[in-house]
Symmetry: C2
Subunit: 303 residues, 2 copies
């Protein structure tokens, strides 16, 4: 008898809840912008579906409110905890995926460290101004459809040092712009620069996102990588990483950004002649990474 009452009660409750969801979704029907309406209606439907599935207690709802508030209040000029939360929930990576084009190089997350303009550098220059890491040469080519070169493409790169820190994290130890460079590809779309092999590193864990990782026994590490943004007129701008193929955490990136096509061999070269040609000392590491861009026009046709 009791379980029958409960069953009927649940059905009644489900009807009330469903009517509520419809009423809330309908309340956004008057939005001036159709996309605003579409977004808010979808947010309501998915958020309500989550509540109906989890049936949170009032106390759990209160905890969720307090958690989101703490995330917002952890943000300041140099820290974006909501981006970090989006990253560790795989949302940033998914947004990249739905915006990607399979005909081009895979994109991946921007991350929080592209906060300063990269210094303009000439092809072949070093982005490393400290000189204590393992020397490394990165070469590559920016192409369009069919592998045709994209001359004059801009290639913006940034990375952490051999200890896993970006310049902005260590203003006392690294000169500003260390590990960063804005290059212009040559007539064959080629780019090249010198650097040091970046290290894997932990994302910041002293805030609410760190608490979430600890509560779920997840580690906070990202595999070693070089960030890269390639852009040229007429093409969709590509934001991606080169991952170092022998780095730890390639199979468990804390922000789910690794994609197979982005893992690049940083091969050791112990040849003084090649080292001299690149302006580094032997042994050094060498990585080659070609970037395939997608024309802007195609993106427009698809929409």
């Amino acid at each position: 008898m009791d379980s029958q009452v409960t069953g009927e009660a649940r059905v009644g409750e489900a009807q009330v809840a469903s009517a509520l969801t419809e009423a809330v979704a309908a309340s956004f029907a008057g939005a001036a912008d159709p996309r605003t309406r579409e977004v808010l209606e979808a947010v309501v439907r998915h958020a309500h579906a989550l509540v109906r599935e989890l049936r949170p207690t009032q106390q759990e709802w209160q905890q969720a409110v307090e958690y989101l508030t703490a995330v917002g209040q952890a943000c300041d000029d140099t820290r974006q905890e909501f981006v970090l939360l989006s990253d560790v929930l795989g949302i940033s990576s998914l947004v990249e995926a739905v915006n990607g084009d399979p005909d081009g190089t895979a994109g991946t997350v921007l991350g929080p460290f592209h906060m300063t303009d990269s210094p303009v550098r000439a092809l072949g220059d070093s982005i490393d101004q400290v000189g204590t890491g393992t020397p490394c040469v990165v070469t590559g080519r920016v192409t369009g459809p069919g592998g045709t070169p994209v001359p004059g493409a801009s290639v913006d790169v940034w990375q952490c040092d051999e200890h896993g820190f970006y310049d902005v994290q260590q203003p006392d130890l690294q000169p500003p712009g260390n590990g960063r460079g804005l290059f212009t590809a040559d007539e064959q779309g080629r780019f090249r620069f010198r650097t040091v092999v970046p290290s894997h590193y932990p994302i910041p864990t002293d805030g609410p996102v760190g608490r979430l990782l600890r509560a779920s026994h997840r580690h906070s590490f990202r595999p070693a990588h070089v960030h890269l943004i390639a852009a040229a007129p007429g093409f969709r701008t590509l934001t991606t990483h080169l991952f170092v193929a022998d780095s730890p955490y390639l199979d468990s990136d804390a922000v789910f950004a690794v994609k197979p096509g982005l893992v690049v061999d940083f091969a050791e070269v112990d040849d003084p002649e090649q080292a001299a040609r690149h302006g580094v000392s032997a042994p050094f590491r060498q990585a080659d990474f070609d970037v395939r861009l997608v024309p802007d026009e195609r993106a427009k046709v698809e929409q």
Copy 2:
């Protein structure tokens, strides 16, 4: 040909996205607390489903991050903008619904104004210390299953004044505790107090939630109501409202808290004898609201 390519690309992308969702959900498998794991996995699945449905651009994702950050940063000791956001999205009301019991009086949202302890008052006392509104008498009875009285139940009430403001919003115009009272029901579970008829009022619109309402051409008003929390040992505590039956906005409460059983007639009484009995002047308004509580034991059995 182009549309075929696009179709295949979408299928490939869907597989990548689905694998990503599974990987992120699986990353929470190690959570020490099973409920934490359940909650985080569900959050990931529903958030990813939202992204796959909406296919937000990078710019839209950025706007979402900035919006949530602004909501978090609008919170302080006296303002909870995430509660307000949860309210206008109908989430607070849905959480109430999934925690409700159809055998008892319907609950509804707590709201942000239960921020101070209500002053202890004797049955029949007035909670109005200003004297400029329409006099009103509220009576009722707290019962359990089968309508049996719950003697000594506590009845905590709070409301805005006839202009739509709570005491905490107008520290210079209203004495602290105005519009608030903590009563103890008598041996028959009865309670009664004097007050003024509350007004409808707008929720705060000077923050991010106000921007959302304006963007969707939604008004910000709540219908007139008296908040009530009824509690007694052995029963589930009930948080609810009495809505004034002739108030505007009953069919479009900005926070979706209205439920049919909670709309109460505040009838006008123009009888000096009755007025004298209640200690008010005629004409006055009178509302009667019975509260049915649900035993705590039943809640335990259901879980």
